[in-house]
Amino acid sequence: MSFYGLVDGSEASLKNYLGSLSGVDQVGADERAAMLATRSIKTTSKRWAIDTAISMVDLTTLEGADTPGKVQALCTKAVRPDPTDSSIPSVGAVCVYNDMVAVARKHLDLVGGAHVGVAAVSTAFPSGRASMPVKIQDTRDALDAGASEIDMVIDRGAFLSGDYIGVFNEIVQIRELCGTRAHLKVIFETGELVTYDNVRKASFLAMAAGADFIKTSTGKVAPAATAPVVLVMLEAVRDFYQMTQTRIGVKPAGGIRNTKDAIKQLVLVNEIAGPEWLTPSLFRIGASALLNDLLMQRMKMDDGYYASPAYVTID
């Protein structure tokens, strides 16, 4: 693999590449994110943002209690978020554990959702603590079951101990396995990497290793997709585009529960990475409860009042 000509696969070249990155000043990044959170999005822009956000949702269920029935219900909702309004777009994908991929794929196809992807969390999600053969098998199972997107976790222990080449090589191997069959999203678990410097470093490491998307979190650790973390990742994909002419996607996941939060994310995308990223192929939001709030806000814009939650489905 060429790694965009940025590294040659050796530890020395990776060290050199990561060492060339400028630092992130935490106070400044927090301040910028807070300022952008004051953007006031109204009327036609709000309507556009709600529909765009719906199309970007990776509708997620990642529970020990997941059953085929639960996943099938989720898939139906993913295709038609509001059964009474066909003008509402389908979500970007459903996101499940790999044993539910086949169920999800089959059901999506059945209910007219061939265009909705299935994302499988992988590589010993959520902790990433397993041997490489296990991680490879985990991913292979998901691909064989029909996953079109693989959401892999990085080994945070390796990253924090400075074994960047180890993290890099894991991503490279999973990338190779995905080939052209699936998009690769790389999850950092930013709540465990903690510093923005680490987030920036992980972003550039994953992008050079072949990630199609960089993703904040598993949803199992708090804090997750905070605005400044997403800002740092959006700056990274913007800078990476300058270096390579390749646009890498960003997926915040965890903690984005209402329309206001989702719109704030879109403002970040618009003003940091740029409007080119305002598409489901380059920005996704990993969420479950968010979708219903988007639907309710949409109804409110049409009807002028807040509907009872009984008017949106609980699937």
């Binding site: 400028s22 630092g23 000043d25 400044g28 822009s45 309507r47 943002a49 409007p275």
Partner: protein
């Protein structure tokens, strides 16, 4: 999908229904509004709409105001305990918070600054200054300024148009806390929030004459400066006027503090956090349309990162939202006056004429009102006029340096010395640079941060004395010593 093809933010205007502007104003003297004799219009610089008629104070009005202030000083304010004075200041601070929206809208209408800034910066900081100084009123003996300090008496205060209410707070809050009474003159183009503040004084039941507000132009200011009944002069404004004031008060017993112009250096070292430095550059020069005495108007860039920084800066500047100041999403509002706009244009033209390269962010400027697109000049040397003179507008001069010492030398090579910014991820470099820089305020990895607890003021032609913190308090006391 919805109607817009891209994420263009729909207008989100703040309502102006919250303010009621009278067609004509007088002065606030001895706790009452008194009619003025002559008037001049005040306009909204974003639309050129005439908002109201402002009174022009002559000798009679200034005399009356000084007399009222003297009477309040001798009969009431100097006899009142610090604890009681503090109560009034706390009350004013709370009323400013309660009426924050009204003040923010009025400030934006009269000044042209974006509502986001008046709402999030000017008004909250003004309230913070009253809260902070309210706390000092009964603790002056413990401020480390000596135990036998006394107020000056009557303070004459003249403030600029860039932060009308905030500068009023910087002046009035410490003066009152220290036990002085005041005669304050707002800038002629931005009197409205000072007049609304006069209502707050009434609402707070501040004793009559403790705060007097007379409106007018430079001639009114001169009457205050030269008035024999005034004990202390505090001025914020141009260095040119500051010099006139310094000359005027030199042969008198008046105390004086001056907060004047600046041409601050924002120094970006190669090891800076670049994206945050870009924000700091933007905040440094485009905050408040560059109408900031401490604006980071000289960007001093290490040459080996200059290309990268300028490329990112231009992209970032293209995202600055210029337009209706009342829109909550506006980043850069209107230039405060036609006069100021002409000055900015003239100085920018000198940059063109002297061979500097001008780049302005592509943005549509409204047809009415006074506007100037965010602009940078590259190819600047120390010998360019726009590297030396204060532009007081959204115009940034970019210089480069090769070694840290050269950066410092260029930063210090100015008659001004109000503020400076240092951007580096290396702590030792920040400490080294801050010790070399001759400026009253130095920010490291941030810019344009203000706090009532922090003294603010300049070196050299940037002024005399400090405002804010204990240092600022001492300017309103005499007999300051260390016991």
């Amino acid at each position: 999908m919805g109607s817009p093809v891209s994420f263009d933010y729909a207008p989100a205007p703040e309502s102006r229904a919250v303010v009621s502007i009278k067609p004509k104003y007088g002065h606030f003297i001895g706790g009452k509004f008194v009619a003025g004799s002559k008037h001049f219009p005040t306009i909204n610089p974003a639309t050129e709409e005439v908002l109201s008629q402002i009174a022009l104070a002559g000798k009679a009005e200034v005399d009356a105001a000084v007399k009222a202030a003297r009477k309040a000083y001798t009969t009431t304010w100097s006899k009142m305990s610090g604890k009681e004075r503090g109560k009034y200041l706390f009350r004013i601070a709370r009323i400013l918070q309660e009426r924050a929206r009204e003040f923010a809208v009025l400030e934006t209408l009269d000044n042209g600054k974006p509502i986001r800034e008046s709402r999030d910066v000017d008004i909250p900081l003004a309230a913070a200054h009253f809260f902070y100084h309210a706390g000092w009123a009964d603790k002056l003996e413990f401020a480390g300024l000596g135990t036998s300090t006394k107020p000056h008496g009557v303070a004459g205060q003249i403030i600029p148009w860039n932060f009308p209410l905030l500068m009023l707070a910087w002046k009035i809050a410490p003066a009152l806390a220290a036990g002085n009474t005041v005669v304050l003159k707002p800038a002629e183009s931005t009197s409205l929030t000072a007049l609304l503040f006069a209502e707050v004084c009434q609402q707070a039941e501040l004793p009559a004459g403790v705060v007097n507000i007379v409106t007018g132009d430079g001639s009114t200011g001169a009457l205050i400066v030269n008035h024999p009944g005034i004990d202390k002069i505090a001025f914020t404004g141009s260095t040119e006027v500051g010099k006139i004031i310094a000359r005027a008060v030199a042969p008198t017993p008046k105390s004086v503090t001056l907060e004047l112009g600046g041409k601050a250096a924002n120094i970006i070292f190669e090891d800076a956090a670049i994206d945050e430095a870009i924000e700091g550059i933007v905040n440094g020069i485009f905050f408040n349309q560059g109408h900031v005495c401490c604006a980071g108007s000289r960007l001093i860039l290490q040459e080996n990162i200059a290309e990268e920084v300028l490329d990112k800066l231009k992209k970032r500047m293209s995202k600055i939202r210029v337009g209706d100041p009342m829109d909550k999403n506006t980043d850069l509002g209107a230039i405060n006056s036609k006069e100021q706009l002409l000055k900015i244009r003239e100085l920018s033209a000198s940059g063109d004429a002297e061979g500097a390269q001008r780049w302005s962010a592509p943005c549509e400027l409204p047809t009415k009102g006074f506007w100037f697109a965010p602009t940078i000049f590259t190819g600047i040397t120390q010998s360019h006029r726009i590297a030396r003179e204060e532009i007081f507008g959204p115009v940034l001069s970019v210089l480069t340096f090769r070694t840290p010492q050269e950066g410092i030398d260029k930063a210090n090579n100015t008659p001004f010395g109000l503020s400076a910014g240092i951007w580096s991820e290396k702590g030792s470099r920040i400490f080294w640079a801050s010790q070399q820089l001759r400026a009253g305020v130095i920010w490291a990895n941030t810019f344009n941060k203000f706090d009532p607890t922090s003294p603010f003021g300049g070196y050299k032609e940037s002024g005399w004395g400090r405002e804010g913190g204990r240092h600022g308090l001492s300017a309103y006391l005499k007999g300051v010593g260390h016991e």
